[in-house]
Amino acid sequence: MHFGPHLLLAALEGLVTSAVLALMALGLSLVFGVMRVVNVAHGEFFMLGAVLAWAISTAISGHPALGFLAALVLAPLIVGAVALFAERLVLRRLNYNPEATIVATIGMLYIIQQLALTFYGPEARPVEPPFSYRILLPWFGYSGYKLSVIAASALLLAATWFVLTRTKIGLIMRATQYDSETAQAFGIPVDRVYAGVFALGAMLAAVAAVLIVPISQAHYLMGQDPLLLSFIVVIIGGLGSLRGTLVAAVLIGLSDGIISVFFSPTLAKIIATLLVAMVLVFRPQGLFGTASR
């Protein structure tokens, strides 16, 4: 294939990666930014979303779009409820102590993974996309669904951005993030905000999972790699910066795609990872973080 089309394909692929990554990282960033909790179980909420998407979509017969849409609504709600429960039961009791929450979320990771293995099984199971339309370009074919994932993610990101910057809920969340004590002095129930943020973060991961699951499959170990990438995105973007998270997700997704054009796959991964690490070495506060925190 010629260089131009190859690059186009790599860029498209990169954008799909970015789209899903941005949603998931946004969830992580909220939890990390507002609660200062390093949520190691975030990837498991992602996995749970995918597994539920499979369960819901197979339970609903008829056109695949029906099952998919049901999953898109229900899976995040259920995952949010699970997260809420975990937050009330465990994280709050730990006073959100950073070190203790790492252990606790590792514990959650084990629990969710094991439950998925026991009740869902070790197989990778596919979810039928709501529509399958193959876009025929002069050089190659491309999945229409993948393009719609980019669009859906953009839409959801815009919605999240709107909620965070233009609504009372967003105002309350940001106030809690910047100064939780002062927020309390203005009647903000920080405790409940934390619970909500944790649930919302998990829901964003679940939405990302529902979107991606018709492309890849639901599998009980699928949470780990996206978790690591999300952490990278959050930090590269700069903690608490919505814009940074988005830019970093695009940067990482695209660089992953485009570098693969020039090198053999594993070497490309090495170079892409090293490059992103170097960004952080020379800009420790991330792309859009402020110098001192």
């Binding site: 105002l171 940001r174 004590e181 009647g187 903000i188």
Partner: protein, 237 residues
């Protein structure tokens, strides 16, 4: 007596971890007065304010707002009861705009446009800066915003922690002016200060805090006549 009291603290004990900071502190704020807490760093002034706000749990004693007990309330219910707080160092939500900071104040007790207009009338300067990120305001403007944000609660009781700290004289004058205006409008204020001149020009009464106790409360006229208490408790003169 009670009906003249805006806020009554009695026998308050507070701890930071294992360290006791307040030892049976008693304090009474009359309606419509400016009560100044005076004392050295570490005496317990800021702790007192935080304890009123419920930000530090009190292990003994009571804090009553117009008859309502505050100590049992979760921290976020205290402002809803009508106590507004301007913390030391202003503690604005620096990444947010001026308008958003004010919005948070308004949300606390579901106040609307009218309150907002009143508050902005009090600080007309802020009106031109509504869309500016509050962290980029000058020190004086930040202090105004911090007070504006608190006044959006239309509080019965206002707590001001060192509002003139780090400000230039003209700004200090402006802040004092505002405190005086608020007194006229009936807000009861507790003011933590370290500057004697600030105290004497705006306060009605002064409580001297030392080692977590209220040593003495005196009328400001009395203090003007005999400033020895100031010397005794703070060592300035």
């Amino acid at each position: 007596m009670t009906e003249t009291r805006a806020l009554t603290i009695s026998g308050l004990d507070c701890f930071y971890g294992d360290v006791q900071v307040l030892y049976g502190l008693d304090l009474a704020l009359n309606k419509g007065e400016v009560l100044c807490l005076f004392g050295r760093n570490g005496a317990g002034k800021t702790t007192t304010l935080k304890a009123i706000m419920g930000l530090i749990p009190s292990s003994a004693g009571s804090i009553r707002l117009d008859g309502e007990e505050l100590t049992g309330l979760p921290a976020h219910e205290v402002p809803k009861a009508g106590v507004a707080y301007v913390p030391q160092g202003r503690r604005l939500f620096a990444e947010m705009t001026v308008a958003e900071n004010i919005e948070i104040g308004l949300m606390t007790r579901n106040k609307g446009k009218a309150t907002r207009e009143n508050v902005l009338d009090l600080f007309p300067l802020l009106r031109q800066r509504l869309r500016q990120r509050s962290g980029t305001l000058s020190g004086g403007e930040q202090q105004m915003l911090a007070m504006a944000r608190a006044l959006c609660l239309e509080p019965q009781v206002l707590l001001l922690d060192e509002p003139t700290e780090g400000l230039m004289p003209s700004m200090i004058a402006k802040i004092r002016e505002t405190v005086a205006k608020l007194r006229v409008s009936g807000v009861s204020t507790i003011l933590v200060e370290q500057r004697v001149d600030a105290v004497l020009s705006v306060a009605d009464r002064v409580s001297f805090i030392e080692n977590g106790r209220n040593r003495e409360t005196v009328d400001v006229e009395q203090l003007r006549a005999d400033p020895s208490a100031v010397r005794r408790y703070v060592g300035v003169g």
